[in-house]
């Protein structure tokens, strides 16, 4: 890069610094909310673009490192920009650009102090996420990881006057901390006793298979807590409804993906030698997470809670991809493992984009109508056509329908599962197709779930006719959503570029790439292994669909008259239709609640026969609360009560404890 003044990594550092400066500028502009909205957020968006470009450039470049003389004495910050962090930086930049632009409009009702705090936390959050991706030593990684958790905690509790939001924030912080401790231990295990914590040193450290399994399990637990895998997912459906929508979009779109980044970094890069049993763990957890996530999403009425559960599901799908990859790698089929890794990364990017889009859409609905409960929405397409259009793109993408991006990545994961005959072991060979079956079921359930979302919220008649002042998305909101919607389409239509770029990532961290058929394929044909095995061309597919629709329209209108009359809806001749006769969100999910009854803890309230104002209500609870967390909480209380005995309140007793501890330690060290 002789022609450029700065290396990409230096630009990334400067951008990061700029975000932090913006954060404090935001705090300084506490009395000028308009400056925050019209200058600081757009500036943040511009920096996001820079980050995205840097990340994109890094996809084709060699890894670059830099050492910043910051931090503790003799412990400088190591930063590194390689292909893997490039992928996630591009995602961070791309998504946060849209979210920042969207925020200019979204936060317009906030008063000065609140807005200033949001600006501070928001930009710190962005900077800390970028730092997580750039960190090249465990120490900096943990600092950035902690900063990310704290900044997002404050963002979640922006509306801290509502008690639920405070408890949601608390649950989030608790899970984040548990995860962080596990990650810390994992780094401790990996370094293997020589006290060097740079990632380079961690890569070199020799580990016995047993210790590396311990490190894997710790890292999987720690990052899984952040990603929202089962059963550590409970913070997601609490935190997302509490947080302002742009923040939810960032958290779901990018932050939980940093956990995926962490997993890949630790497992593929730092540990290096992958055992297939790890893959089985990831695969099983991923399948369970995906299935439970979508089942719970289906039964939710709060749109943002629903989206949060759907994020859990998508994390499950990503874990399925990673798990498959690890199984293949561990069994000595690195080329097939690469396919799984690429599929997982691709799905990570896709989910980041369409989930951010859907959260922004939910935010736009909330801002416009004040509603989050699907049971009250209806007919919004007539009042907010732009939001409806963008949401439709998001809905079609997340439902994995061709030719959008969700389909492309799930297609790759299916292709990976179909490579199962290469495996030697009988158990594995039979479990991998079961995973494919679960993935297929999850995909179809997702479509059901998002038909419910779109159909209930946007189509039909207005359920609440008193609602007059609802409006479409404002200009900045439109730009934010349009950016993401276009990304969905582009990523869906040009998967070949994406997998070629992701192939670089795989080459740089595992040393293996896709087979030559896949690499040499031109931009039209997506070929995972070889042309005879499978191919898919979204562009041709899209062109043929569109032209078939147009030909049909043309022929029908050419050959027959186009007479059209308008009239009241027929509805089998039933004359008095009210909006209340439509299916509600509860009704739509009723069959699912019934079929998967044992999964849910549903309590229904039926009206009595002579009730004059009958009301039916149903609540669905996550069984993990009662079954797991409340038990842990009770156990903790019990243990604390038992330990309470040692609390005497007299100072010399405490001194005695210290003495005993000191002597015990001295004996131990001796």
């Amino acid at each position: 890069m002789a022609h450029s003044v700065f290396l990409p990594i230096e630009i990334a550092c400067l951008a990061l610094l700029a975000w932090i400066v913006l954060a404090f500028l935001g705090l300084a502009c506490i009395r000028q909310p308009r400056i925050i909205l019209n200058v600081i957020f757009p500036a943040g968006a511009a920096i996001s673009l820079v980050i995205a470009v840097v990340g994109f450039m890094a996809l084709t470049l060699q890894a670059q490192t830099i050492i910043l003389p910051l931090g503790l004495p003799n412990l400088p910050f190591h930063l590194r920009l390689d292909n893997l962090s490039g992928v996630f930086l591009t995602l961070l930049g791309g998504v946060s650009f849209a979210v920042s632009i969207f925020s200019c409009g979204y936060f317009r009702n906030y008063n000065g102090p609140k807005l200033a705090l949001v600006a501070l936390q928001y930009h710190t959050f962005l900077a800390s996420m970028a730092l997580v991706l750039l960190a090249d030593d465990a120490y900096l990684f943990m600092v950035a990881w902690g900063a990310m958790a704290v900044a997002s905690y404050f963002l979640v509790t922006t509306e801290h006057q509502v008690p639920q939001n405070r408890s949601a924030g608390f649950i989030y912080l608790l899970t984040a901390h548990l995860g962080a401790i596990a990650i810390l231990f994992s780094f401790g295990v990996i370094q293997g006793g020589h006290g060097e914590y740079t990632f380079d040193a961690l890569r070199q450290a020799p580990l016995t298979p047993l210790w590396s399994t311990v490190a894997f399990l710790l890292a999987f637990f720690g990052f899984g807590a952040k990603a929202g895998m089962l059963p550590l997912h409970i913070w997601l459906p609490e935190a997302h409804p509490a947080a302002p929508s742009p923040v939810s979009a960032l958290m779901s779109g990018v932050m939980i993906k940093t956990a995926i980044y962490g997993m890949i970094r630790v497992i593929y890069d730092l540990l290096g030698v992958i055992q297939w049993q790890w893959g089985m763990v990831v695969l099983t957890v991923g399948a369970a997470t995906a299935l439970f996530g979508i089942l719970f999403a289906l039964t939710q009425n709060d749109l943002k809670r629903l989206l949060a559960y759907s994020s859990v599901e998508n994390i499950g799908i990503i874990l399925i991809g990673l798990g498959l990859s690890m199984v293949f790698m561990g069994m000595g089929h690195p080329t097939l493992g690469v396919l799984g890794l690429i599929a997982a990364l691709y799905h990570t990017i896709n989910h980041g984009i369409y989930k951010a889009l859907l959260f922004l859409g939910a935010g736009a609905i909330l801002r416009s109508s004040g509603m989050r409960n699907l049971n009250q929405m209806g007919g919004f397409i007539r009042h907010m056509p732009k939001i409806a259009l963008f949401m439709l793109v998001g809905v079609l993408s997340i439902s994995a329908l061709p030719p959008l991006n969700g389909f492309a990545s799930e297609w790759l994961i299916f292709q990976t599962t179909l490579q199962a005959p290469a495996l030697q072991s009988g158990v594995l060979r039979s479990l991998v197709p079961v995973t494919a079956a679960i993935l297929a079921l999850v995909g179809a359930l997702t479509a059901t779930c998002f038909v419910k979302v779109f159909g209930i919220a946007f189509l039909g008649q207005m359920r609440n006719p008193d609602l007059k002042e609802i409006h479409d998305a404002r200009f900045t909101e439109t730009i934010g959503m349009a950016w993401l919607a276009i990304s969905c389409v582009v990523l869906g239509l040009l998967p070949v570029f994406v997998i070629h770029l992701l192939n670089n990532v795989s080459l740089s961290i595992t040393g293996f790439g896709l087979p030559s058929d896949a690499v040499d394929s031109n931009w039209i044909w997506l070929i995972p292994t070889s042309a005879a095995r499978a191919s898919y061309s979204p562009i041709i597919f899209f062109a043929v669909v569109i032209s078939a629709v147009l030909i049909t329209i043309f022929l029908v209108h050419r050959l027959y008259h186009g007479r059209l009359r308008r009239g009241p809806a027929w509805d089998c001749g039933y004359p008095e239709q009210t909006p209340r006769m439509q299916d509600s969100s509860d009704a739509f999910a009723q069959a699912i609640r019934r079929i998967f009854g044992p999964v849910f803890k549903a309590t229904r309230h039926f009206p009595s026969p002579d009730d004059t104002a009958p009301r039916f209500s149903v609540t669905v609870e996550d069984k993990h609360w009662a079954g797991l967390y409340l038990r842990i909480a009770r156990l903790t209380t019990f243990v604390s009560n038992q330990l309470g005995v040692v609390q005497q309140g007299r100072i010399h007793v405490y001194l005695l404890y210290s003495l005993v501890t000191l002597i015990a330690l001295l004996i131990f060290v001796q």
């Binding site: 009988g426 158990v427 039979s430 479990l431 079961v434």
Partner: protein, 220 residues
């Protein structure tokens, strides 16, 4: 890897055996259950016949005849008669929802295959892969007996289990000695008669064939 045609046909009938086993798990109606059992026995007869023809084992022809007479004609006919006599028209009641049962069935199939894998690798016969299916058939029949409430379906489960064992014998070792087979056939027949008497007694004692009434027999 090429398998001779007879081997392929035996594999096919093994698959059908498993298919019918699952159909029996999913079936709610008692009459269809009996017909499915007859069908399973018929598939068994066919597969035994194929083994007999392809390996020229003459004693297998006898077992084909016995199985056909006993399991395809006599026992289903007896069961139909019982049902008419006892005037049973109800659907089969299950303890567990049918999809869950089938899911358990799939788990059992995977288990059975993995169990059979080392054994079938030792075996040199063309039909070695079918041992797993035979074991799966036995386990599925067991599952059916566990999940069903009524006595008749339990008897059918028992008979299906015997079918699985028989198939294991023909597929793994080209059949048992004729004496053993005759003995088993006789046993099955006697068991049928005893079960028949048993049905009538249960019905007389409890006015129903629902086995949950048997719980009353327990002394507290």
């Amino acid at each position: 890897m090429t398998i001779p045609l007879s081997g392929q046909l035996i594999n096919l009938s093994a698959a059908f055996l498993l298919l019918v086993g699952f159909a029996m798990l999913a079936q709610r109606r008692i009459l269809s259950l009996i017909n499915l059992f007859a069908m399973q026995s018929f598939v068994l007869v066919l597969s035994t016949l194929i083994v007999a023809i392809s390996t020229h084992q003459h004693h297998l022809y006898y077992s084909v005849g016995i199985t056909f007479v006993l399991k395809v004609i006599l026992i289903p006919w007896l069961l139909h008669r019982f049902i008419r006599k006892l005037n049973l028209k109800w659907d089969v009641e299950t303890h567990i929802a049918i999809p869950t049962t089938m899911l358990l069935g799939i788990v059992l199939v995977i288990f059975a295959f993995n169990l059979a894998q080392p054994i079938s690798q030792l075996s040199g016969t063309v039909t070695r892969h079918t041992l797993g299916i035979a074991i799966a058939g036995v386990l599925l029949a067991f599952l059916m007996m566990i999940t069903r409430r009524k006595a008749v379906s339990q008897v059918i489960g028992f008979l299906a289990m015997e079918n699985g064992l028989f198939f294991a014998a023909t597929s793994a070792t080209y059949g048992m000695p004729l004496v053993v087979e005759l003995g088993i056939a006789l046993d099955v027949l006697v068991a049928m008669v005893i079960f028949g008497i048993f049905f009538f007694h249960i019905r007389e004692a409890f006015d129903s064939l629902d086995l949950k009434h048997m719980e009353q027999l327990k002394e507290d």
